[in-house]
């Protein structure tokens, strides 16, 4: 059914349809609309979940961990400082192999206090064992949230999934939304290591130097297997609902001399820049990365690569730019733009492409660039 929704409302609607049994969320701007909407679904009886009121994000994730261990579907949502406050527990969720789904509304980290879009919050969760996906439209936020449950709960994955959407730019933008009936697209959850009072076992007990690394390797093995599970979920989604998704969304890349790689809403703005550049005779393309963990293979051979990072790792560089350089053994022009909601227009992006200097880093809006 065709309706309209904000990014936040689209996520909440997908969650309602996925029917989690336990939801524990602490509100934070710009995510609050998600918790409000889900609380309303529960209070009106549209979602028969146990809604747990918590006093912090740390407790929200702890509640999801406890609930998930009993083998039921769980959901939470957060942003920025809230995600960071959760950090100890996000590691636990992945290590305990719990398929929790979380929406993270990407927002910059203070100080200076800033409520606008940036990806550095999620980047700080990069090494926790969570799968991470970044979306660019209201429709994609909805579709990907549905897929996230199926992927997280797949027996070959059993890892938590974080769905990232840009604060305000997507969370508060109203766009068309075509809803679906997920039915058995998300099969029932069968957690193999469920807590069972009739069969008591120890969980998260002391694991010595001769065993611990095996559990770590097992997480990595599942991460690698998740590539196949994600691909199958995309395929199944297309067959049932007709919308196509991949690890990346490629736009006019086939014959491109220069490809711009980005994540989130910026990726759509890049497509407009690509059209304009092509009108000027510059063969540009856009590759919008959806899945950041697991990090997919990218086809970037034999062309110039411009990477836009809406994040930064101090003393190192743009996280996406360096990930691409390392994985593809290719030089890139690294642009740092959009931090803390900085406006980046398609004209700005066309400028990055025209003035690219492979091997260099450029901070948009800062005069004394490296």
């Amino acid at each position: 059914m065709l309706t309209v929704a904000t990014g936040n409302k689209a996520v909440a609607l997908a969650v309602k349809q996925a029917k989690p049994v336990v939801v524990a969320i602490y509100p934070i701007t710009p995510q609050t609309e998600i918790v409000e909407q889900i609380a309303q679904y529960v209070s009106q009886g549209d979602l028969s979940a146990r809604y747990i009121d918590v006093e912090s994000e740390h407790s929200a994730m702890a509640a999801c961990i406890g609930a998930s261990m009993t083998g039921v579907r769980t959901f939470t949502a957060t942003s920025s400082q809230g995600l960071l406050y959760m950090h100890e527990m996000t590691n636990w969720a992945a290590g305990a192999r719990l398929p929790i789904v979380m929406a993270n509304v990407n927002r910059a980290i203070g100080p200076g206090w800033n409520i606008w879009a940036e990806h550095t919050d999620a980047m700080q969760e990069r090494d926790t064992g969570w799968l991470q996906v970044y979306v660019s439209t209201v429709q994609e936020a909805y579709d990907t949230t549905l897929m996230a449950f199926r992927i997280a709960e797949h027996n070959d994955v059993l890892l938590p999934v974080m769905v990232n959407l840009d604060g305000f730019l997507l969370s508060h933008v109203m766009q068309p939304l075509d809803t679906v009936e997920p039915a058995d697209f998300i099969p029932p959850l069968h957690l193999p290591h469920t807590v069972d009072p009739k069969n008591p076992m120890g969980y998260g007990t002391l694991t010595g130097p001769d065993e611990y690394f095996k559990f770590r390797w097992d997480i990595e093995r599942s991460m690698r297997d998740s590539l196949r599970v994600i691909e199958a979920a995309h395929k199944e989604f297309f067959q049932r609902f007709g919308r196509t998704y991949g690890f990346t969304e490629d736009y006019r890349c086939e014959d491109a001399d220069v490809v711009v790689v980005s994540m989130g809403t910026l990726g759509k703005e890049v497509e407009v820049a690509v059209d304009n550049l092509r009108n000027e005779g510059i063969r540009a393309g856009s590759m919008r990365l959806r899945w950041f963990r697991p990090f997919p293979k990218l086809d970037l051979m034999n062309r110039d690569v411009v990477v836009i990072d809406r994040d930064y790792s101090f003393g190192f560089g743009g996280v996406l730019a360096h990930s691409i350089q390392a994985k593809n053994r290719t030089g890139v022009f690294s642009v740092i733009a959009g931090l803390g909601g900085q406006e980046v227009t398609y004209d700005d992006i066309a400028g990055f492409v025209k003035n690219r200097h492979i091997g260099r880093e450029y901070w948009f809006g800062v005069s004394d660039n490296v």
Partner: protein, 175 residues
């Protein structure tokens, strides 16, 4: 692509007006996005909201720099905000006022939205709510159809006065 910028004050319904316009445009079979710029402002502070309407999916997320139409829901914001900033040559200005204001080089219209809302007693927390009157006025300008405007209102609100104010605005708007 048709781009609209709405100037209002927090609590007047500027953000909701933008969403209603987008929804109405979608019900007209077109594509649209609506978004506000959220600053630290709250109730009473100047707020800017944007709407883009097109015949293809809208991919642009940056703020509107050169609107085709500017809607001024609160005349007082003109003292602190340059509401004409970037407005396209020959663009349109609509003001919430009982009196006509001329802006050289632009098509100008005025409509007393506040009077319409007060007549229907559409007041929340002391503020007349103007959002549904805004889309009635824009329907008269042909940006959306009045049928889709009413559909959009019915989808978002249950109070019949909301549709009535849109009708009133549609009728009273002189083009």
């Amino acid at each position: 692509m048709f781009e609209i910028r709405i100037h209002s004050r927090g609590g007047q319904g500027g953000v909701t007006a933008a969403r209603l316009i987008a929804l109405a445009a979608i019900r007209d079979g077109r594509y649209a996005t609506a978004f506000p710029f959220y600053g630290a402002e709250r109730r009473g502070a100047p707020v800017v909201s944007f709407v883009r309407i097109d015949d293809a999916p809208v991919k642009v997320y940056s703020q509107i720099q050169q609107p085709d139409l500017v809607f001024v829901m609160d005349m007082g914001v003109m003292d602190v905000v340059d509401v004409l900033h970037g407005l396209k040559e020959g663009g349109t200005v609509v003001t919430n006022s009982a009196h006509k204001h001329e802006f050289a080089g632009f098509r100008t219209f005025n409509i007393d939205l506040t009077g319409i809302a007060l007549k229907e007693d559409l007041v929340v927390a002391g503020n007349p709510i103007l959002d549904t009157a805004v889309i009635g006025a824009l329907a008269k300008l042909g940006i959306i159809t009045i049928e889709s405007a009413k559909k959009a209102i019915a989808e978002m609100f249950t109070d019949e006065r909301d549709i009535k104010t849109a009708d009133d605005a549609f009728r009273e708007m002189t083009v």
